[in-house]
């Protein structure tokens, strides 16, 4: 195994370095090109300037005073870049680059200058963070901070648009820097290449004007919201799973805790975290690229709205329109209408973070005494079965493939029942020959006591799988799932339902699930 994996890893590293090199070369070419273009234009401007001027000054008496300084300037010009006189508030190339948004009344010159002077922290450079960062860099936000501790994986690429095939294995922060830098080299990119932690949250957030929550766990959502409340930063929070997304602009305006005129925080809207076993990641639940993309793009939009509205002087703040009332935008790709906007309340009078009774303090956050992981409930690996109820994939392979050493019997798929508890759509992707699909959603919805469902069709459907298994009381039942968690809970449920005939029939699961089967037994079995 070892040499193959080393070779594979070296290949990946080489591919990733080559991709970086290609990127750098194209950036260099771009930079050289624009330098050349700029010099050309400078030359033309200086050359044609005086002659195209219809003043008709008689040169026999020397150069007209008005032009003298310009001529001297050209003569004294060194080949190197010299800072152009600050005649206009933006650089020449900035007028060109941002022209299409500059001419909009919502942005204008002041808006563009605000974007240029702004710093935005993007926590999480994945499905949300990639599109959000791309649009903010494109729009000319002066400084973008990027927080992520992960590396790019092939399964990220269908939605995490800053990363590329050649950069699989690179850290997400580095990969995003390559992409963003080639998109807009004028943006200062600040890498924070580790996972956001309570100990570092406050010091990391401090230097930024605005924060985007592009993370993927309940714990990080509460940590980010609390930190933003403590530091007085507005937060643009979005999330997405499967076909659904949510978007909120929180702590807007960002007033101190206890000030009821401030915008609500994440805890005001969702005071209780979801039960840990109900939290599904994109890896387990799935995600459609454009769904999370839409949410990330909307985050960039809200960020631009907040930043360009931001006021710089007290005089301005009096005349500035108040921010939009707080709302929760719900995106549901397969429903009609796709968007719903929910009106939110002001801050909750008893909010733990932003009310006058707040218990969340900077001390508690950074010392770790506020345990976010515990607050959201740790998800321990399922450990529901005893060793005798579990079989390794090696031993199960023998059951399937080998001649029985004691009886000399040929292996037979009929000797046992293999139940696969993945959802049907996954089962249809790939499955072991001879297995029976009983999705875990149906298993977990079956009550050991008499089902209390009002809907009769559902009850009889769920009973079917139980009675089917009862019809072969002698055959041992092996249960398999993707990773070996749902399979354990299914074994427990089957025993509760009495399918083991009081211990006469063996029921157990395959340790490590189909992932272990692929790793150890059948390398061709698809990984998804």
């Amino acid at each position: 195994m070892a040499p193959t994996s080393i070779i594979e890893s070296l290949r990946q590293q080489i591919a990733s370095c080559e991709a970086q090199l290609r990127d750098l070369r194209s950036q260099l070419a771009e930079a050289e090109h624009s330098q050349k273009e700029q010099r050309e234009q400078d030359r033309l401007r200086h050359a044609t300037g005086p002659s195209s001027d219809p003043l008709g000054h008689d040169m026999t008496y020397g150069i007209h005073d008005d032009f003298r300084s310009e001529v001297f300037a050209v003569l004294s010009q060194v080949e190197d870049e010299r800072p152009p006189p600050r005649r206009w508030p933006l650089d020449r190339h900035e007028y060109r680059r941002y022209g299409r948004q500059l001419i909009m009344p919502e942005i204008g010159l002041q808006g563009q200058l605000r974007l240029k002077n702004a710093s935005v922290l993007i926590v999480g450079v994945g499905g949300l963070g990639c599109p959000a960062a791309a649009y903010l860099a494109g729009a000319g936000v002066g400084t973008l901070g990027l927080v992520d501790g992960d590396t790019v994986e092939e399964s990220n690429l269908h939605r995490q648009i800053l990363h590329s095939t050649g950069r699989v294995g690179m850290t997400k922060v580095d990969s995003a820097r390559v992409a963003l830098n080639s998109l807009n080299p004028n943006v200062r990119l600040v890498p924070h290449s580790s996972r956001l932690a309570p100990e570092t949250a406050i010091s990391t957030f401090q230097q930024y004007d605005l924060v985007l929550d592009c993370t993927d766990t309940p714990a990080s959502r509460y940590l980010i919201s609390d930190t933003c409340v403590l530091l007085g930063k507005t937060l643009v929070s979005a999330s997405a799973l499967r076909t659904d997304g949510q978007l909120m602009v929180l702590n807007n305006p960002p007033r101190p805790p206890g000030d009821t005129s401030g915008g609500p925080c994440y805890r005001c809207v969702f005071p209780k975290p979801p039960p840990p076993e109900s939290v599904v990641s994109c890896g387990d639940g799935g995600i459609l690229g454009p769904v999370v993309g839409v949410m990330g793009v909307l985050q960039a939009l809200e960020a631009i709205k907040v930043l360009t509205r931001a006021t710089q002087s007290p005089a301005e703040s009096l005349s500035a329109p108040p921010p939009d009332p707080p709302s929760l935008l719900i995106f549901s790709a397969y429903s009609n209408p796709m968007f719903r906007s929910i009106r939110l309340r002001a801050r909750k009078p008893k909010c733990a973070a932003c009310s006058a009774q707040a218990s969340v303090t900077s001390e508690a956050v950074s010392s770790g005494s506020l345990d976010y992981v515990q607050f959201c409930g740790a998800t321990n690996p399922v450990d529901a079965l005893s060793p005798s109820e579990r079989i390794s994939v090696e031993n199960y392979a023998k059951v399937r493939l080998d001649v029985n050493p004691f009886t000399g019997m040929e292996p037979s798929k009929d000797s046992h029942i293999l139940v696969d508890t993945r959802e049907k759509v996954q089962y249809d992707l790939c499955s072991l020959e001879g297995s029976v699909n009983i999705p875990f959603s149906i298993v977990s919805g079956t009550s050991a006591a008499r089902a209390r469902w009002s809907d009769n069709s559902q009850t009889s459907g769920e009973q079917d799988w139980v009675s089917e298994l009862r019809r072969h009381p002698d055959k041992p039942i092996f249960v398999v799932c993707r990773l070996g968690n749902d399979s354990q809970l299914t074994v427990k449920k089957m025993k509760e339902l009495g399918l083991d005939n009081g211990g006469q029939r063996w029921i157990g699961d395959l340790k490590g699930g189909l992932r272990a089967w692929r790793d150890v037994i059948d390398k061709d079995f698809p990984e998804y």
Partner: protein
């Protein structure tokens, strides 16, 4: 999942994300009127386990407006969901 107008004597309820997964539905119509404070109990009768596994962390809205069904705001607790109202059950989505 177009939220069709609910039949007389009913309100419509929309299930998002985990609530939709748990109920197996995106929307349905339930008998009105019902007190907002009793909504979760009603749903628990229909979908055993939903209160603990889903509803406890959800935001609830009536006609696109957030209400606090488990807090202690009297106005919300006394609120009655009437015929024709649109209620939404919105679990926090945390992935991204």
């Amino acid at each position: 999942m177009a939220s069709k107008k609910s039949p007389s004597g009913h309100f419509s309820i929309l299930y998002f994300a985990a609530a939709s997964t748990f109920t197996g539905k995106a929307t349905e119509h339930l008998p009105a009127p019902v007190k907002a404070s009793e909504l979760f109990a009603r749903l628990e009768e229909r979908y055993a386990g939903i209160k603990e596994k889903v509803l406890s962390s959800c935001a609830v809205t009536v006609n696109l407006e957030y209400i606090d069904v488990e807090g202690d705001e009297v106005a919300d607790l006394d609120r009655v969901i009437e015929e024709g109202d649109e209620v939404a059950i919105i679990p926090p989505v945390s992935s991204g």
